[in-house]
Symmetry: C2
Subunit: 213 residues, 2 copies
Amino acid sequence: MHKTASPTLPAEPPRTGQDRTREILETAARVICRQGYEGASMQAIADACGLTKGGLYHHIQSKEHLLLAIMHYGMDLFEEQVLSQVVGIVDPVERLRECMRRNVRLVTCGASQEVTIILHEHATLTGAGQAAINARKKKYVRFLESAFTEAIAAGRIRAVHPKVAAFSFLGTVLWLYKWYRADGEISAERLEAEMVDLFFGGLRPEEDRCGAA
Amino acid sequence: MHKTASPTLPAEPPRTGQDRTREILETAARVICRQGYEGASMQAIADACGLTKGGLYHHIQSKEHLLLAIMHYGMDLFEEQVLSQVVGIVDPVERLRECMRRNVRLVTCGASQEVTIILHEHATLTGAGQAAINARKKKYVRFLESAFTEAIAAGRIRAVHPKVAAFSFLGTVLWLYKWYRADGEISAERLEAEMVDLFFGGLRPEEDRCGAA
């Protein structure tokens, strides 16, 4: 399931029966989102998965390993659906725009929203597991920073601070899971278009831009 | 301590010894941030406050009331240091710019960072307490939406979607507590300036703006 082998993981994630494993991780994520990590018992998670507790422990050796596996799965989904789809785009601004579109889609339309929430909300992990997840998150920040740096060097965008731009991009996109509801007033398609337009097109009216130049 | 009396609160927050109460709420927020809400015992919180468990229960009647009181205190701090300081600014763009500056400062320089984290991270509250906190948060979203709407009507900014703009503003600012470290490479003053410049000034280079007009 994992694209990057990491010696810092406390245990190898399960690699057989990939679809069943994904199903278990998504179900467990939903239970943990609803009941909280401390509140969600392994029995409740097993019940939701249609497994006995022993059956669940056949897939995963402890609750902390389960949390870690959900987070790695969240990073896998992100890398499959977002990062790997855009790294090859030559123009740095189009690379960033397509990256935002795809990341917005993952957060708003994904069947795995709870997995993404757990990935960004839970500080419960410690030690090597936490370090492995942080390293994967940092890879995304560095990707964004270097795309902004490249766009600045090419004169495609203003000389903003690449790190501030990278985290503003992330905050804009990831705050979505805290407020956006697909059944609300803004459709997912409109949201994606409005967000990219706002972030890359800015707030200033055209006349203001030319007058200021 | 609270500016808005709410009939939906499960209990009245303590109103005597305001400074001592604030100190207790800030200390409790630090313990909860470190140990998690489920993991932090009332005994551990009392110890950190230099109180007996009975002494703590003199101030607050249960752990859920403590969590709710921390969240209301976080909203109080926000309203005192941000919202009430900017509502009177006539120009809607300057109102929004100053609002972002002050909110960034609250998140990055505040002595009460853990209070802000708990306000935005904890979904543990339920029922009337959760509804009261959500109502206070919604007031901020509505303030931002109407300032964006006013700025659009006055031709001061482009016709972006006010709700998307409001939540992009919030995501940009509030994601800060997830990544920004005051002892890192970006000073708090620089961060505040860069973030306001990026959000309000946008990414497009001057020549591009005029060419596109």
